[in-house]
């Protein structure tokens, strides 16, 4: 960290310390809103003080202490307001409201983990991760808590990223916090036997945040911030759970996808498929980081069955390391899809596998692989068929399939299919 630059130090501290500061405040106070507000106050104070006094030697410890003091102040003020309220109300049972009943729980405060004790902080952050992504919360609430409480994004930023108003997003957060309190969702790391299923849920939320940034469901703009945020949060999770191969797998998958960001969109906002992308535009640094994360994941998975993120990342790596489309190791891609199918044969995976089979073993094998699944969404299935026919130069058949596929699709996907159709018709 650059000690001489307070704003860089603050940005760095925000990225690395926000979650830990909030996580510990929640454990000690049990009050999510209070924890967020106090952490925000600590960072605001830091923004002022560090400019004048310089960056403290241990920014994380400084922020934790400042946030704790802010929380205690807020609790005292609230207690004083309540006392005033009872006084105004003329409650006859004054003895009941003696000061000690309304003071913050000093015992709890004394039990505050020392900010420098790394392990306690990690535990708190994990508690926060798993509670934000608890399956009993509505999905939109999980995403909001993950970005706001864990990630430290402002409510207005989260709202903008999801195309809703600030008050809608604020309500989602309030409802999610209420459910945590009313249904008594525990603030803890799941037990070892629950951990795999619950971790799957956490990774699902992070991937959803990533894809919302990468392929937004509303609006055409690609929202870089959400993707970067998902990658950052997943990297923090990997540091906390280094033995969990799927966390590394998810990071690898997100980085390898994100590396194609600049190449996958045409200037007018259309989507470009892999084989048409200018591979020199792929982000080499992200690919290197993605491959490193994939390595870490495969090492962690040694002796175990690779999970879906690790497998998808392995497929993405096959593409990322092929300098040209023709260099793609299709037989290896088919193998990886076979492994994915054996875990969860979703329609999407089966169609993607069929394309890979077509590329590895010929058109007929690909078309046969396509026909194994009749319940796939019609638009997707037809698009896969059209793609295979086109790759093998069956122009007329491909055009028919593209036209049908476009009729069953919408948005960017439809635009892409129509462009393909136009290209075919122009070439034919």
């Amino acid at each position: 960290m650059d000690e001489s630059d307070p704003s860089a130090a603050l940005a760095d501290a925000f990225a690395t310390e926000w979650g830990a500061v909030v996580a510990t405040l929640i454990r000690v106070t049990g009050d999510w809103a209070l924890a967020e507000d106090s952490a925000a106050e600590a960072f605001a104070i830091a923004a002022q003080r560090w400019r004048g006094d310089g960056v403290p030697r241990r920014p994380g410890a400084w922020l934790s202490t400042t946030a704790r003091n802010a929380a205690v102040d807020r609790m005292r003020r609230r207690a004083a307001e309540q006392r005033a309220l009872y006084r105004v109300a003329g409650d006859p049972t004054t003895g009941l409201w003696a000061d000690e009943d309304l003071e913050p729980d000093q015992g709890g405060m004394a039990a505050w983990a020392h900010p420098a004790s790394g392990e306690g902080m990690g535990d708190d952050r994990l508690r926060l991760v798993f509670t934000c992504c608890h399956p009993a919360l509505p999905l939109e609430g999980r995403v909001a808590l993950t970005l706001r409480t864990l990630g430290g994004l402002e409510i207005v930023e989260v709202a903008a990223a999801f195309g809703v108003t600030e008050s809608t997003m604020a309500k989602r957060l309030v409802r999610a916090r209420q459910k945590i309190a009313h249904a008594r969702i525990p603030y803890r790391v799941p037990s070892p036997d629950e951990l795999p299923e619950r971790l799957e849920g956490v990774l699902g939320v992070l991937y959803l945040v990533f894809t919302e940034g990468y392929a937004p469901t509303s609006g055409a703009a690609v929202r870089t911030d959400l993707s970067a945020e998902a990658i950052r949060l997943a990297a923090q999770l990997a540091a906390l759970l280094p033995g969990e191969s799927e966390v590394h797998g998810l990071i690898a998958l997100m980085l390898l996808h994100d590396s194609r960001r600049a190449a996958r969109v045409t200037p007018d906002g259309g989507l470009l498929p892999l084989e048409e992308q200018d591979r020199t535009q792929w982000n080499a640094e992200q690919i290197a980081r993605g491959l490193a994360a994939l390595d870490a994941g495969l090492r962690a998975a040694t002796g175990r069955v690779a999970g879906p993120y690790l497998l998808q990342a392995s497929i993405a790596a096959c593409h990322a390391t092929s300098p040209t489309p023709d260099a793609t190791p299709w037989p290896r891609v088919v193998e990886l899809y076979d492994a994915l199918v054996s875990i969860g044969p979703s329609a999407h995976v089966l169609l993607a596998r069929a394309i890979a089979v077509g590329m590895a073993q010929g058109l007929d094998a690909g078309l046969a692989a396509l026909s194994v699944r009749d319940d796939a969404p019609r638009g997707l299935r037809l698009a896969a068929e059209a793609d295979l026919l086109r790759r093998y130069g069956r122009v007329a058949d491909a055009a028919v399939a593209y036209r049908a596929a476009a009729d069953h699709s919408d948005g960017a996907q439809r635009a892409f299919l129509e462009r393909r159709l136009a290209e075919l018709e122009a070439s034919g």
């Binding site: 409802r175 249904a183 008594r184």
Partner: protein, 234 residues
């Protein structure tokens, strides 16, 4: 006879504090008719648990999204159905909601005795509502009843519960324009109906989810977990 009285309140009901206050009713029925009962936290605090293919699926919200959600419940012990109806008609919710009377239908336990303890006693922190679902697999005859393993796992955390007689045997009680309306059958013809309940005392939602997931109802249908909302709490 013992009944579970399901208290249903439409989402748009807006009773005054006086109209909705059940304390006089609770007082009047507390001498031998009402065994136990309370408010439940609203549907947005509900959590559903299903077990499919050996996997526990946890979701947010109630098991059926309808306007007339379950707002509370009471367990009544009365001589006959007519008395149950009379007791229900005096409940304040009868004027703006509905009271669905469901007779208990105790399971036979592994040791041959009947699971007919509708309420053991305080404390109770959560209520499990066992829901039937359309298309859910028919219970295997071997699946009938509660497995000993569940009873053992629940231990002191289980504070009573029972299976209910089918929904088409329900009696639904309302008062409209000052006139009692008593209908046979559930309050609404839905594919999803409450098929049983269980009272729990566990410290947090994860403990409730673990017990719900181990219950046969989670495999055959769905278990909705509703936190109790004691009437004195805000």
């Amino acid at each position: 006879m013992t009944y579970l009285m399901v208290v249903r309140v439409p989402a748009d009901a807006n009773p005054t504090r006086e109209e909705g206050d059940p304390s006089a009713w609770v007082e009047a029925t507390s001498h031998g008719q009402r065994l136990f009962g309370d408010r439940l936290r609203p549907p947005q605090d509900a959590t559903c648990v299903r077990v499919r293919g050996g996997k526990t699926l946890v979701t947010h919200g109630p098991f059926v999204e309808i306007a007339e959600q379950i707002a509370g419940f009471d367990i009544l012990t009365v001589d006959d159905a007519d008395t149950a109806v009379q007791v229900a008609l005096t409940h304040p919710v009868a004027t703006f909601g509905a009271l669905e009377l469901r007779e208990l239908h105790p399971f036979e336990l592994p040791d041959g005795s009947l699971d007919d303890v509708p309420y053991i006693g305080e404390p109770v922190t959560y209520v499990l509502l066992m829901g039937s679902e359309p298309g859910a697999s028919e219970p295997d005859p071997a699946d009938e009843g509660l497995p000993a393993a569940w009873i053992e796992q629940a231990g002191d955390a289980e504070r009573g519960g029972a299976r209910l007689r089918p929904a088409d045997e329900a009696i639904t009680v309302r008062i409209r324009d000052g006139k009692p309306l008593v209908t046979h059958g559930p309050f609404a013809e839905l594919a999803e109906q409450v098929a049983g309940y269980d009272l729990l005392d566990v410290p947090d939602l994860d403990a409730a989810i673990a017990l719900a997931a181990a219950h046969p109802a989670a495999r055959l249908g769905v278990v909705e977990i509703r936190p109790r909302w004691p009437i004195w709490e805000q």
